[in-house]
Symmetry: C2
Subunit: 143 residues, 2 copies
DNA sequence: CTTGCTGCAAACAGTTTGCAGAACT
DNA sequence: AGTTCTGCAAACTGTTTGCAGCAAG
């Protein structure tokens, strides 16, 4: 899985004539090793441990590369920070965000996707992507 | 409709002991008279025409009041600006955003809402709100 | 008169950008 | 060698905040 992602990035890098640098390799490693939905800040701090001279700008720039390469997706949740999540071979999922403890539950639903296409069809709209976030309280916080 | 909203806000203001000021009245008027999904900047500029001494901070503060009062909703789309839309008597709807011309089509769907509650139920999750945005090309831009 | 509201400017957070030097090919 | 990439710091954008004066109750 991780190897596959590295390959995706290398292929992308090659196809675009990008260079392979220590920073990029390291950022990719750390990104792949983190749980989902990391903020740039979180990643930056983690990377700084193993490579103290890294600059924030590099992390920002590299994450954008990952998005272009198709292995990460940008998330704009409600905490004012851009977060990045892994893309697992084109699969899409949505999020239930607990507003109390910030736990994120991922889910996927056929019915919803179908309903969307149906509505889009009715409006002559061509879907490229979508984003569904459900906010509320998770099972441990609702009590 | 507009009168009703004014009443909602007045009731809220009274209940919270807020004062009625020219600025608030004007901002409410302009907000109610605009099309959906205004950014703070857009509103600010419109208001500045009729009331040049208005400050941005007041617009920001007042819009937050509207949200608290239940007559506006904050939207975080993908253009880095917070936008506000009208809430029509508790009704909820979702958005299809054309990434080419920025047209926003609103829709509502029973099936999707139901599927959500069903999934939430399965996870013991208590839904407070949700946000669904579909991105793609509208009928005029897809050609 | 008391307290809340406003406008201003400064502060802020997250992100982007210009640039000189370093690193890859 | 030539060009891309990096780190730094400064710039920027959207938003928030502190404060002195103003205005509503």
């Amino acid at each position: 899985m991780i190897l596959k992602k590295k390959k995706i990035f290398n292929d992308y890098a090659t196809s675009k004539g990008l260079r392979s640098t220590n920073q990029r390799t390291l950022i990719l490693d750390v990104f792949l090793s983190t749980h989902q939905h990391v903020s740039v800040e979180e990643l930056y701090l983690k990377i700084k441990c193993g490579y103290p001279s890294i600059g924030q700008a590099t992390v920002y720039r590299t994450l954008k590369l990952f998005v272009e390469a198709g292995l990460a997706r940008e998330l704009l949740l409600h905490d004012g920070q851009t977060r990045y999540e892994h893309i697992i071979s084109g699969e899409h999922h949505d999020h239930m965000v607990c507003t109390s403890c910030n736990t994120i539950i991922e889910f996927e639903d056929e019915t919803i996707e179908k309903a969307q296409s149906e509505i889009a069809g009715r409006h002559g709209f061509l879907i490229k992507s979508h984003k569904l976030e459900v906010y509320g309280l998770c099972s441990s916080c609702r009590n």
